[in-house]
Symmetry: C2
Subunit: 367 residues, 2 copies
DNA sequence: TGAAAGGACCGTAACGGTTCAGAACCAATT
DNA sequence: AATTGGTTCTGAACCGTTACGGTCCTTTCA
């Protein structure tokens, strides 16, 4: 009702002051510093405000003057809705939201369509800082963020040296997982990984592409695998690595299928995420392969659904990652150098990994 | 590096214009309307900007001038992180995020701690509109939103008549579900519902409290149940209704326990959400009750986990709800009257509901 | 050759606040 | 009577931009 009554010029702090015959300062104080004026006058100001339909100081104008937006921006280069499909991303969001809430700060999800090169949304975002979560390191949106004169925290990204960073030791964690499989006797393996760059490549990964991957996380996980298996005498360049652009169980299944078609003799299928691993297990089942009897399957992340399936994986503290990113950003004072936080991971030995059945022999004669 | 070089007064559009010897308008045009100046000058402007470390027009100042924030606010009165735990809320968020993304608009999660009555965060939010999702109808944050002179869409809230609304027919859907159970022969039932008001009440619900519930959704679902069962001759005031403040499986379990302790003879346990229902099923199992052989259990929402469990429930299009809310908000033009959208629901008969075993007799003699 | 058209750029006036250094006033202290 | 201290309110500067309505100069065309 009040909404439709004052169709004329909306009231402003100035017009309210004029109406009351006081200064703008006084009206401002009525809202922001009640102790700066007498209670009676304050009441009169607030009453008149209500009568005139003045909704209180304009947030944008206030932000301009105070140089505080009261919000942090989150950049994730994906269809924004992707974040709400991926369990790990949801965990990260939750942690970040917690940190923001504690600080009474808003969280602005910045739309950054990876298809378009349109970085205007980054320029338009009125925020006090940015969190950048798992975008390719050559992403133009990331570049745009870095040019904004506000503190920034990158997460699951390479250390840029200039801004704060939160992450885990993807390489080391995957190395450890690989050591587990190697210890079990696996030498003939296949890999399914997430997208390595901005272009879609649903197929095998060349060594070049692997090396030049623009997604820090994937690059490091693969590199951890390569190191461990090379040390164990496996020729990494011969290991089939299937890449999938979309991150869902269907991709895991089709990636597993592609790898198994290429080399039906593999004894372990290593996936760079739990979601992919769960899909891979479906595909294994479809082919009549028993896990882990006929083939071992491993994941990465430690999501709930994987846990329920008894998946062997690396658990990473996704919620803590979000929270740490938020905290880092929100207390970004003038320190000497950017901070870099590595959170601990944990290798979870589930029931999807075991020694290779027919492989005992090969261990002695194989490559 | 560039980040730390210009510690002096940061460059502004005006200082850049002064440096170049052109007007501020021209610099502005260089960024916003390339066709309004010659390519050479534009290049010169942009180059000088880079040299001076000018990051482009300030988003807040621009917002003030253009009266566009490029973002919509989302209010959900809960620990903000709750939204990322509840599958239905996640679906809603995803839909809303999709709509925002399509429009190139940001989505600002407004921190609204239900504990504090602090509505400052609502006042501080620089947004072009609000979406309010499932908050109690007497929530001060909601009141604060309604006083802001921006378009608003409420979702899962009563129709205020003054702003757009998106929802489902909670009452009718639950009525239909109740009819299903009644048709199976159930007369002795128990209910577990989500919080009905802002105060914590983990216990049975009085008829008064039920009637005065401040959560529109819960009020209507209960009312649908009451109507159906009253029609079937059940004295609704005697039906045990356990309320739980927290919305998780543990609450479902403890609510179920409370109801079953009160009346071990119930043949059906109706929960107002799938999450609660899944918890209730755990409790039933703990007590050695087979579902649906010994007791029927029903939910509401149609979440994935419920589907996998074969839960009898009402499926509601949560993603569509979010998307619809976003669309409504983003094309809020000057229309005659506020719009109200009801989305369709679907009764899902799963394998958690069946006829009561020992109840056939009671149907004839019972109340 | 004169008029009309069009491109390139500019000056001014908002946009709606916050902040800080005082001014004005009054009561209490020296 | 002069000084001090406290409360209450004011004036003016400033935050960084874009909208609006020009001006000026060069072309184009009859």
């Amino acid at each position: 009702m009040a909404r439709s009554m004052h169709v004329r010029r909306p009231a402003t702090l100035a017009s309210l002051a004029a109406e009351l015959g006081v200064s703008r300062t006084t009206v401002s104080n009525a809202y922001n510093r009640p102790d700066q004026l007498s209670p009676e006058l304050r009441r009169r100001v607030l009453d008149t405000a209500r009568r005139l339909g003045y909704p209180g100081p304009d947030p944008v104008a206030r932000s301009l003057r105070t140089r505080k937006a009261g919000a942090v921006g989150l950049l994730l280069t994906e269809n924004l809705s992707y974040a709400f499909r991926d369990p790990a991303a949801i965990g990260f969001l939750e942690g970040l939201a917690l940190a923001c809430e504690d600080a009474g700060t808003g969280l602005l999800l910045v739309p950054a369509n990876p298809e378009r090169e349109d970085v205007a949304s980054v320029h338009r975002a009125g925020v006090d800082g940015f969190v950048v979560y798992s975008v390719p390191d050559d992403d133009p949106h990331l570049a745009a963020v870095l040019e904004r004169p506000v503190p920034t925290v990158v997460c699951d990204q390479p250390d840029l040296g200039t801004v704060d960073r939160v992450g885990i030791d993807d390489r080391g964690a995957m190395y450890e997982l690989a050591r587990h499989l190697i210890g079990l006797g696996h030498r003939r393996i296949g890999v399914v990984c997430m997208r390595l760059a901005r272009d879609r490549n649903d197929g095998f990964v060349t060594p070049d592409r692997q090396h030049a991957a623009h997604f820090h996380v994937q690059r490091n996980r693969l590199s951890g695998l390569a190191e461990a298996f090379s040390e164990a005498g496996v020729d990494w360049s011969q290991v089939p690595v299937a890449e999938r652009f979309d991150h869902n169980m269907a991709s895991g299944a089709s990636g597993a299928a592609q790898v198994l078609d290429r080399d039906p003799g593999i004894t372990a299928l290593i996936c760079t995420s739990d979601v992919l691993a769960l899909g891979a297990m479906n595909e294994a089942a479809r082919r009549g392969l028993r896990v882990p009897h006929d083939i071992s399957v491993t994941g990465f992340d430690g999501i709930r659904a994987g846990e329920e399936a008894g998946l062997t994986t690396v658990r990473q503290p996704v919620l803590e990652k979000g929270r740490a990113a938020g905290k880092l950003l929100l207390d970004a004072n003038e320190r000497t150098r950017p901070r870099s936080v590595n959170l601990a991971t944990e290798l979870i030995i589930g029931k999807t990994s075991a020694g290779p059945r027919g492989g005992a022999e090969e261990r002695w004669f194989g490559p």
